[in-house]
Symmetry: C2
Subunit: 411 residues, 2 copies
């Protein structure tokens, strides 16, 4: 027999950015004279740094000669890149990592959905609310999400941790006695997309302790760690006990502007065991069956991010976006908005004034300021009444947006 995967039909929405584009397009048609500023989609705009460019040219040249040409690479990434990752992202922060625990990929989106394949369909899943929608959609598409319940505004089999002003956007694990205590997969992302909140070692330790105590597994997405400016953990493996309960997802997309280059990596410690099975070995089998590795040229580009000059250059770019975040944050705060994020993350998460709903405020921003933001409700029910602003644009657009905010909202 043949049948269609029945779970795709359970997906809700996924049209957030399509709806944003539709409204922005309509505004543009009606107001051709106004210059629209987009602070919506989280995509980088600064070019690749010179070290990366040089490394890619060199790698391309190698591919042009028989003696240096590379065909299929190692399934899990070239040694040169894996070593650079371990030395710079882990050893430098006092964390030991075995090369066999690092899996280079084409960006962490693929693995943040693919990782679910390691677990049975009956596995419970929990996420923060608001949340990066991929974790939820991937769970639903593979039969791990249950049905969407209109009354609670969530999927029946996906638990959520509310992140709001009250907890500074950092959830706390349930107590052992709490009826919400559970054993399952826990998706955490810090610094967070969309809220821009960053977690400290104490609060992250509480999650690690909880996961070890309940036999849960944390999928830790630290794609934005490069934006941390305060004394906070960059990796969950800086926390004692994480090697027995956590998988980490990393990406060069926001660290080095690789959204159009595609490279990231997943770390699975050998001590992480579920049902008596070493998950690292399962992932190795999965990756070697389903992938043929990442472009050699891309991996040389990623390696260059770790050279002394490369590190300096990407620090400069990250500083550029961080300054944009500061400019936007200052303007919004001066107008009386309650603004989260923007210090250790390229995102600002802002409460709408007077309990306006997200989409109404989106329309107001568009009409009055000609600025496109992202309605918070697009990231989950708890995002209602918030909006997200990204700092990835140019300095000039950040300054112009700040001027428009001040003009429209100044008290």
């Amino acid at each position: 027999m043949i049948g269609v995967n029945p779970y795709f039909d359970r997906l809700r929405g996924g049209y957030l950015f399509a709806e944003i584009n539709k409204r922005a397009e309509s505004f543009r048609r009606q107001n051709p004279e106004k210059r629209l500023i987009s602070l919506g989609i989280g995509d980088v705009t600064r070019p690749l740094c010179p070290e990366v460019i040089t490394a890619m040219h060199k790698a391309v040249d190698e591919m042009s000669e028989g003696e240096t040409f590379r065909g299929y690479g190692p399934y899990f990434g070239y040694d040169f890149l894996v070593r650079a990752i371990i030395d710079n992202d882990y050893a430098s922060r006092g964390v030991q990592m075995d090369p066999e625990e690092v899996f280079v990929n084409d960006g962490c989106k693929s693995d943040s959905s693919g990782i679910l394949e390691l677990f049975s369909e009956a596995t419970s899943i929990s996420v923060c609310d608001p949340v990066y929608p991929v974790y939820v959609d991937a769970a639903v598409m593979t039969g791990r999400g249950g049905l969407f319940d209109e009354n609670i505004g969530a999927y029946s089999r996906i638990d959520t941790f509310q992140c709001n002003e009250d907890n500074n956007y950092i959830p706390t694990p349930p107590d052992a006695s709490d009826k919400r205590a559970f054993r399952g997969l826990i998706f955490l992302c810090f610094p967070n997309n969309p809220t821009g909140a960053a977690i400290n070692a104490e609060k992250l330790s509480a999650w690690v302790e909880y996961a070890n105590r309940t036999g849960s597994v944390i999928i830790y997405d630290s794609a934005y760690e490069a934006y941390i400016s305060e004394d906070l953990p960059h990796s969950i493996f800086e926390i004692e006990g994480a090697r027995t309960c956590a998988i980490e997802l990393r990406s060069f997309s926001k660290t080095a502007g690789f959204t159009g280059v595609r490279c990231g990596y997943t770390v699975i410690p050998k001590e992480l065991v579920c049902d008596g099975i070493v998950l690292r070995n399962l992932w190795a089998r999965r990756q070697s069956t389903r992938n043929n590795g990442v472009s050699y040229i891309t991996q040389r580009a990623a390696e260059a991010v770790y050279s002394p000059a490369g590190k300096e250059q990407i620090r400069e770019t990250i500083g550029y976006y961080a300054k944009n975040a500061g400019i936007l944050k200052d303007a919004l705060v001066s107008c009386g908005f309650s603004v989260g994020g923007g210090v250790n993350a390229p995102y600002l998460w802002i409460r709408t004034p007077e309990k306006t709903d997200s989409w109404s405020f989106f329309d107001r921003m568009l009409e009055r300021c000609a600025v496109v933001v992202t309605p918070g409700v697009g990231f989950g029910k708890a995002g209602e009444g918030y909006f997200r602003v990204t700092a990835f644009g140019s300095r000039e657009t950040a300054e112009e947006a700040a001027r428009r905010f001040r003009k429209e909202f100044a008290k």
Copy 2:
């Protein structure tokens, strides 16, 4: 609760190339003076062609400037590449294709496993025997393969079509009355890996007719179409009726030496409907949730394959490998071997002499000729008593291997 995916445990083997490497390594240690020739793994060895190199340098330079930098690309591939694919691989052969039916990917291995996610777990799967192991392993890992039956030497839920000397390695679909008639997913790969057999329009039409009649879906892997030298279909969409029953997988890996660059594409016509659902739309939803597209630089490289000079250059490289195939085939035939493939494919599929089993003959080749081949049984039960030879090496190694064959086996 949390549990491990129970299906990984059902996987058999997958250690073919590991076992080959182990025996080759042992031989090398014991015979340090002998020069080992590998005709085993199907990886290209010729450098990328000049047009591709130029295009990649240009794309890298674009990524270095703010005005031409590219962040996230379209989920399904840049227009420039999709248009080049349609014009050159389809329109030029009289086949119409809509840009929305083409999905650029990082090589067809990812999609030849991922495509299973469109279908329910209960969907029946059938493959040729011998077969490229990824289709089978991916089905097993996602719960669609059943259990391995030691008695029949196959998975309980995967049907196989025998491909052997009797049918010239081209299977025929079952008659309507045949008890083997079924409705399900049918994986076909032509020109075939491992047998090197190529299908003609008449035989491929029989499969299309069968699939339409039974409501089956054909996954057609034509990764080796560039090696076709005779008047044969390059795409299943050259066959009438294929748009309602087929998905096609293509790759630049063997066409343009992209095994280390990673680019391919999947074609799903809008008329392909299952359970009333347009599969193309389901795939679009899957891809946009699970991927962020393919490197811009890689896509410019793929586009260059279709430039007039690029086409000429890759034709030259394919001709080089084809000549290797001829040299190896002539030698083996002159020694009295029964040799399939090598005319429309870079693979030769050879019967072992005197019903020797595949691994014993592998050892004999290694010991007597210092040549590594691939034991046919590694591709399935019907591959027992065969071995595979690839033509992807240098001219010099092909000639040296041919000399050794003649010396050892000449009658």
